[in-house]
Subunit: 363 residues, 4 copies
């Protein structure tokens, strides 16, 4: 299949550009009988929505989603779920100036060379605008996973140079950064305010965790759970790195240190991040994402135009000085989509093993 | 499809366990007319082969591959290429002791819970033994890519705590570590010798680079080139992290620092690692992998058996104290497979754009 | 992937029920640079549209399609094309009566057993209503194929007991049946009028032909061109049989009779229907479809309800007495989708062979 | 994926040419814990094997299969099953004469144009020789389906002009034709003997039936069970038509005649062939295949060579005068593969519905 469908049994297909009439998605393979309403999707859409604090783009998008199919009398029918979000606050004229330029670190250059034409309005398809549909689809996956006791949550673990230690989930939703340490919030606020004065942007690190995942999810050797998670998370705009569990820290670890020993009470540590041999172990699934700084900044930069002439580029328009700030719900969504897809695949092949086990028993 | 096939147009399907009779692969979608012989595959197989230095497992496997189909009169026919490697040096009795145990940090636990049964001999399917077929398939991709001027190479950039700066490609093949700094080799040797005395293992970091990649490869939004690379590289045994370009360093970077500016001579830097918006930019594709320390060590560890009883586990058998040492050819193979798959996909959809361009012109 | 996506490189994903708010489709992999407007899609949608003659359902649906993405300044961008058609003339109350019944020969019974729940309004997802989106997607494929000189057309070759010999393409669009023999139309009209009086329905046979298809399309051994055509055509509601070329007549043929001999002027016959060994030969691709009689008829029939109680069913609502009458544009669409998907796949793998050939030269 | 893999969850990938060293297959997604031995595969391989009567090719191939992986201690492990069959009786020199010719009705012409090169020995990949691996893979699917009470069987329903009425399954395996009417066998023998004297070939019709299939298999709207069956069966060499249930007879049927009415005892007829709306109904799945006459005959025919020069072709070598005679086990295999793939997909998405039902209860 082409590049805009993700998943094997639970599949998400999306379309839509930043400044086109609408975003659309088709979510296929959702099990039937799940209670589902617009409200279930809207909650996460609102968490990702722009313009909710002074630290994100001021573009105003209500991101109201319409369910077009697949739900009847309040429950999923097993048929594909069509989703629609109209774009309402496009200001395409902001972009006519960069029509023939390649903004540094943007996809302008590669889209131009790949397709020969490009929708330059707000980055077109390459804009993070499309992630709204990932969040809507992910909310469906989260809702189903919740019926099995699986919970997917994320937080910001680093903003630029500021590392953020995890204190508790309580505060995460109470600030604009999904910061798990309330005491750090003022420092983050101050950093962002200075960043805007500097007309610059910065990167961030996000951590996503799934709890209650049953053992057995993952299809070695290529469709390992961690490999599909890496695929899903790296497919998010601006992501440049993905770690599972100890990640790059594993490089300097010794085997005696890294291996998670087992007792009758369970594992004594989780360097594996909940995945062994590409299959979930029953421990929490832990992933970290590195997001690069926003490419759209008003500080002039060197580039060329479509004719190869050197130009100085200043990116106007309304942009997030740190795309990482709104990335947490997107990362949660992609992890949830991968987990549900693998749950369905696992049930299909291994129902014989699963019958009578808690995993299927819970269903 | 199930989990043992990778790719869309250039697909690699493999089967085979560590101590079964043989490894087998079917490589489908290779363009016709490519000169191909066993020697083309054997070179990389020998680079990955065990027992070539005292720093890797002493299992002796010639890893001689047989081409069963898809090649006629020395050239590929466009039909699927069947590959066979017989296992010759299994010592399965080494493993009967751990038949009912879950070795810490191994896939024993997850395979047992997923499938209900497991081939415990040498880890069965979860053993890195299967990577021999990735290397064989990757060699075919490399050969074809070479006809387009694309070259995929890798090296070790860190061994445990020892960081290795890149000096030159010259020395990489002259040492057991794929170390790009000859001066560092003695230090690596000494470290590994001590590690064995400590009956411990350690992690490593590998860097893979593809040069000569034309712009345009990658299928947003989900099948981005970097996302498929992350999938491919994370699917390699023991890999816990993947970075593209600046990777996790992007987190602390500012936009003015990260963005790769353009002049009429080309890009001034490569923080992007050759991928913008999920599509190749024409710059070198740069990826880094984190490999965890080998799980099989002779230092006793705590675990449980299939009945949940606590046991002390000592992993005998012949193992690599650092799986990263033989990982470079595997990482190269997976990157080559991804690049060829995306080249074919790109040509299919965008032939209109490509006609008359160097990319297709070279063909 | 799940069951609502068709194709590998040119993919069509659809959603939407007969009486839901809308039908939606995402067409992915369309080459960039193709001139495309709503008018290109509307023409075929109007050919399939209900209520255009007294011989089809009287449901009034304008079937006006909206392009939501993938087209910029009148040309495709290579990004996914989102399509939306609002349902306007649902009369769901017609269906409350059959809420708990299984209408004979309908999908009620199987949807109930598969999903546990079902949208009973007008057959929900199982209604031929969804074929509107196949036609819209097919129109895009047709438009691109036309730029290569490929033309896909169909006609009715049999209505119930009345066989229709092909006279010419001229009259096909001038009657409600897509009948290629104007002299036969009055007989068809009379037959249909009597059928309505009998409160019965009847089957039909449709023939679809693609001319100008270059040799080389098809991916043996499983994704043969004829196998994918069979898949695509059999996936159309009510289709019970598919033939390529001589089809079932081949059974009684001798090899000396069936084989299409070749001269320097080309093939002397086309029993193969344009496909040899699963690959297009350059001759016209010829396929025949058998459509069963409409299941929804007002003559009472025996059935059971969800509790297993025996009931007599009379299907009210507005239905086509012969679903085959509107099937020609649907069959054309599915053939066009398969041909474009295979063209892209073929170009991807075999660009080396194609460079400098008319096939790619035309692009 | 490319064209040599079939299925989504239960996938079969094959490689190998008629006169290459071997045939190979990788069967992925087979549920774990299934008792499986070479004997289970050999039985069906022997039913398809050439040279067992004077009515098939005299090529002698023992078709002995080796299981390379995926089975441990007599049971499947859930890991991919590698299969190998060595070719032993190639007589490639028979073919050098047709090296530069296109045999009428053969794939020579299309392979030449698609790939630019071709393995002309015995048709290379386009030979029905590859179907041996379909039969081996199908035997695995049959074995698993049998544990659920599903049985897949086939027979010859027509040989050339001779229609064969079904009498009983008893005699089917007792004759060389899989003829279900013992009284007809002498007539078939006489017809085939005359056919050889005429140096000609003939077509055949095969019927395949699956009994005990639970309701619910099939993934509308594109991956309907009947659509995937059509794909699978049309992908068999020489097949030109596929019917489900009443098939082309539906065209002349009235709705009152075609619809299968239901009582509390079940369906009163099976015009649907066990599939309603693309989903199995619990009735027997019935499919019919039309196979064209063998293209390889010794009666001279007109053709051209690779230079376009007209030539007269006489096809030597050893061939089946009716490929349909050995097609029954192949058709059974493909139907079994489709059914198992859909069973796994159905279980994956609909486990909630299935828990506690006979379908999953039996597992």
């Amino acid at each position: 299949m082409s590049g805009n469908t993700f998943g094997k049994l639970f599949t998400v297909t999306t379309a839509g550009e930043s400044h086109g009439p609408a975003l659309v998605a088709i979510v296929d393979g959702c099990p039937p009988g799940l209670e589902l309403s617009v409200a279930d999707l809207q909650r996460d859409l609102d968490r990702r929505k722009p313009g909710t604090s002074r630290h994100t783009t001021q573009r105003q998008e209500p991101d109201e989603v319409e369910i077009l199919s697949g739900v009847f009398e309040g429950r999923t029918t097993g048929c594909p779920i069509g989703l629609l979000i109209r774009n309402t606050d496009q200001k395409s004229k902001d972009y006519s100036a960069i029509k023939d330029l390649f903004r540094p670190a943007h996809a302008d250059y590669t889209y131009h060379h790949k397709y020969g034409v490009r929708d330059y309005r707000g980055g077109g398809r390459s804009s993070a605008r499309e992630t709204a549909m990932r969040v809507a689809a992910g909310a469906i996956a989260k809702k189903y996973l919740a019926t099995l006791g699986v919970r997917v949550r994320g937080y910001m673990s680093q903003l630029g140079p500021i590392e953020i230690g995890f204190q508790s989930w309580d505060g995460v939703e109470q600030n604009a950064f999904f910061c798990p340490d309330p005491a750090k919030v003022p420092e983050l606020e101050a950093y962002m305010d200075q960043l805007r004065r500097d007309q610059d942007s910065v990167g961030a690190k996000i951590t996503v965790i799934a709890e209650g995942v049953p053992p057995g999810l993952g299809e070695p050797i290529f469709d390992r759970l961690d490999a599909d998670l890496a695929h899903a998370l790296m497919s998010i705009n601006a992501v440049k790195g993905v770690e599972i569990g100890a990640g790059f820290a594993s490089v300097a670890q010794r085997g005696t240190e890294h291996r998670d020993e087992l007792t009758s009470e369970g594992f004594l540590s989780n360097n594996a991040g909940g995945v062994l041999g590409g299959i979930s172990s029953g421990q929490p699934i832990v992933a970290h994402l590195a997001l690069k700084p926003t490419s759209s900044i008003t500080t002039p930069g060197r580039s060329i135009d479509v004719e190869g002439r050197e130009v100085e580029v200043v990116t106007k328009g309304r942009h997030d000085p740190c795309v990482g700030i709104r990335a947490t719900p997107i990362a949660e969504a992609m992890m949830a989509i991968v987990l549900l897809d693998h749950l369905l695949r696992h049930r299909g092949q291994n129902a014989d093993v699963l019958v009578g086990t808690p995993v299927l028993g819970q269903l």
